[in-house]
């Protein structure tokens, strides 16, 4: 005979119950069961989203740590942005507090000659530094731009404690990426602090090595 294996009847469908405030269990109505399922799905989605983000933060962190030994912090920042966020047009500007201006430290995928020094407060990059907050083009469409900022997508302030180290300019996104997403903003927030710390570390190391 083909059947359920041990010949016993299949178990009756269990009735879903909900715990009341007094600790007793009450059977669920169809609507309540549906509501709980929706809540479960929503929580599951939140957990998956956090997992997605944590894996990326973990990879970005590991790459920055590795860059401290290999003295390639700018390459590490570019790799993180290209692989985890989706742009290959990046520039990093150094901040000179005495002159209150910025100059190009490194770039990739953009014409370096166009990336002229600029003053604190000028354009979207300078404005971001003035505010002490990273700025995103889609959230700041009205800002007056510097000539080279036309294609600017985001400017990420590099700051360690309150000290501004520089700014990362992210220009166009990859063709398959239409806009920045929630996880991208979190990764950029991570780069604000830890990118700055890595750059500071590298500068100090350079000073130690220099004769």
């Amino acid at each position: 005979m083909i059947g359920t294996g041990n010949g016993s009847r299949p178990p009756a469908k269990q009735e879903s119950r909900i715990e009341l405030a007094d600790g007793n269990l009450s059977p669920l109505t169809g609507t309540e069961e549906l509501r709980l399922r929706v809540q479960q799905l929503s929580l599951r989605e939140q957990i998956e989203r956090n997992h997605f983000l944590l894996m990326r933060l973990n990879a970005a962190n590991a790459r920055l740590i590795q860059s401290l030994e290999q003295v390639d912090v700018f390459d590490a920042i570019a790799e993180i942005i290209a692989n985890l966020i989706g742009s290959e047009e990046i520039a990093v500007f150094d901040y000179h507090p005495a002159e209150q201006n910025f100059s190009l430290a490194w770039s990739s995928g953009v014409e370096a000659e166009a990336l002229q020094p600029f003053l604190r407060g000028a354009g979207m990059l300078g404005h971001a530094v003035e505010l002490g907050l990273s700025q995103f083009r889609e959230r700041q469409p009205e800002t007056t731009l510097l000539p080279f900022e036309k294609n600017l997508t985001a400017c990420v302030i590099l700051k360690s404690s309150r000290e501004i180290v520089g700014v990362v300019a992210i220009f166009g996104l990859l063709p398959q990426k239409s806009n920045l997403e929630w996880a991208d903003f979190e990764l950029l927030k991570f780069l604000e602090t830890y990118g700055a710390v890595a750059i500071k570390f590298q500068r100090l190391q350079g000073k130690q090595v220099a004769p």
């Binding site: 997992h51 990879a59 590795q66």
Partner: protein, 124 residues
């Protein structure tokens, strides 16, 4: 439990790190890696992976060149190659398929999309 072996080829350490995390936390695949196309061809010969996941823009030998080399060789021609790259432009996609790749994915990688595709190829 799956013992399928995937060869991940990428010169970017960040890409290798994030893919390793995705695989280790969500699959039982065994992951081996290479940092450029030349090393990929050598490792594929030696280790016969069940699938190759490969970037395009790499030093020494690009993913497209490596894919062509793998497809020319009787020992590796049947291994599915999925190109995983930042290059989403149509020209690159066409060149990718012309090189003999089985599929083409763009970065930043979407975990679910990647895992579904691997599952489709590896039958897991």
């Amino acid at each position: 439990m799956s013992t399928k072996k995937i060869l991940l080829v990428d010169d970017s350490c960040t890409a290798r790190l994030v893919n390793r995390m995705i695989f280790s936390q969500k699959t039982n695949y065994v992951l081996i890696s290479a940092v450029d196309g030349k090393e990929a061809v050598e490792r594929a010969h030696r280790e016969k992976p069940d699938l190759i996941l490969m970037d395009i823009v790499m030093p020494r030998m690009t993913g497209l060149e490596a894919c062509r080399a793998l497809k020319k060789d009787k020992e590796t021609e049947k291994i599915p190659v999925i190109l995983l790259t930042t290059r989403g432009e149509e020209q690159y996609v066409q060149e990718g398929y012309a090189s003999g790749c089985s599929d083409y994915l763009t970065k930043p990688v979407n975990d679910a999309e990647l895992l579904d595709l691997l599952k489709a190829y590896l039958g897991e």
